[in-house]
Symmetry: C2
Subunit: 308 residues, 2 copies
């Protein structure tokens, strides 16, 4: 039995424009590094984070909450975990930083426990981390972080995670260094929507899923529209409209707000287009004078992994 392991837990993009609360995909980059040792007693020991000063108390740390849920499922076993998370996914960026910590921790623990839990069980455990982070037990970052590719949360109660193939798409992603709290981004949404707008939304998500499964880039592009959430949330991101228009003009198939923001992602059919799109992203936020980080990567078929 392995006594220690290291895993990489990828950043993830939730919502995917028209798939609010149900779709998400895994990024090849960035990813958090999680080093873990198996202990012979029921204890969770989290090393201090030198950069972000995340809580080391397991009850207040998202990875700790996820691991505690896992331990609660095996109440009679004398095991525990010592872990160190090296964060490469900035907390608050909107690309699944808390999900990477939670999902990475339970996947690492499952390796040390000889794969005794199923992926669906791991998703359930990691959701306790999301609950701690945002107050809501959601899985739209957790599921793609664990499974890789694109995942659909068809239903959350009961949990039904549908794995979709990862189409061969490149991702440009910009993280403008402004704060958008998930709770605020959720609070500004209207509780009611017009049926006719909801119909447009499910026409698009149906087209997007058909495009993903059939690897039809044109259909994916035509379907990447959000008539409900983007008009409200984009107000929180300075320069959003200009950014989007310039990315589309540079050849992106489409894109939008990553999760609840502030990161914005764009999908492209080639690495060259993704680079051109990234150039527009840097240009817009440089002009507005907002510090930003840009990634050019792709949809990763793999989720949490044991090698880089």
């Amino acid at each position: 039995m392995n006594q220690s392991i290291k895993v990489w837990a990828p950043g993830t993009v939730a919502n995917m424009v028209c798939g609010f609360d149900v779709l998400g995909f895994a990024l090849a980059d960035p990813a958090d590094e999680i080093e873990m040792e198996l202990l012979q007693e029921r204890r969770i020991e989290i090393a201090p984070d030198p950069v972000y000063q995340l809580p080391t108390d397991p009850d207040k740390n998202v990875a700790g909450a996820a691991l505690q849920a896992l331990l609660d499922a095996i109440p009679d076993e004398q095991v525990g975990f010592r872990l160190r998370i090296t964060k490469h996914i900035k907390p608050g960026s909107g690309i699944g930083s808390s999900a990477a910590s939670s999902a990475g921790a339970v996947v690492a623990a499952n390796h040390l426990l000889q794969q005794r839990f199923s992926p669906d069980e791991l998703v359930q455990f990691a959701m306790h981390g999301e609950k701690l982070a945002s107050g809501v037990k959601h899985a739209d970052n957790i599921a793609p972080c664990i499974h890789g590719g694109i995942t659909l949360i068809r239903s959350i109660f009961p949990l039904d995670v549908v794995r979709l193939p990862a189409p061969d798409l490149h991702v440009s992603l910009v993280h403008p260094q402004i704060e958008v709290r998930t709770a605020d981004a959720r609070a500004i949404l209207k509780q009611h929507v017009l049926l006719k707008d909801a119909i447009k939304q499910w026409g698009n998500i149906a087209g997007l899923v058909a495009g993903i499964v059939q690897n039809d880039h044109a259909l994916i592009g035509r379907s990447l529209h959000d008539h409900l959430i983007e008009p409200v949330r984009s107000i929180l991101i300075p320069g959003y409209e200009e950014l989007k228009q310039r990315c589309l003009a540079a050849g992106a198939l489409g894109g939008g707000i990553s999760g609840s923001g502030p990161s914005v992602f764009m999908l492209s059919a080639s690495a060259a287009i993704a680079e051109a799109v990234a150039h527009e992203m840097r240009s817009v936020f440089s002009r507005i004078g907002i510090e930003h980080a840009v990634y050019v990567t792709h949809i990763s078929p793999a989720g949490v992994r044991t090698s880089i």
Copy 2:
């Protein structure tokens, strides 16, 4: 050049439970028969319907309106059509009776005109028939009637019809002989819906489309839920809840109201289950004392066709 032709235009099931206004599929049976002759002058001549006494004035007949839209696209040509429609799809049944007349007519005309129009153009023409029938230019019966299989209307303006493969599924369908006017069925819908219910709906349509494209019957079954329309419209169909529960207990994957009703359809993985489901359908409406017609058929990969 052929001077006459005969086509069969299939019945269709719009909405498909969670795909309100966007999904539809073609039935192998019943189908209307349309016999058409090419005329050398701009005239539409419709034979009287001996059973349903449908209007013979082309401006008041759905097939006439569709053919007129087609003629409007070729204003300089001296052509016209003489047609006779033998209705096997009862008007008002909720399985695309008007769509079959409209779509069948323009497909027949297109054969006589040596296929000069694309399928998307034919859908556009036939939608004029739907406008006449229901006041709304919708395509969720027209598109599967023309293309066969399952179709997604991703967007109506501009029209974007996405063809999905026809999974190998059997259909049981019951038409209780009660009147549900499309306009009434539409009027009772709420204009606003809860965002949380809309999210459930698009989780299900996403699952349904993934299940259809991947021919995953279990996923199709899990996704056939409608949290928005069925609770309102099912009130118009006596015995609906009992009917649905008994069909599911007999092994159906799922199903619901066909279009705006009153027909109800169920999908099943085998012909034997579809027969058992049909038995439940007959039993429920016999006990309530409502006359009914039952069909046991399958999703047809073909749309309007030139042979039976």
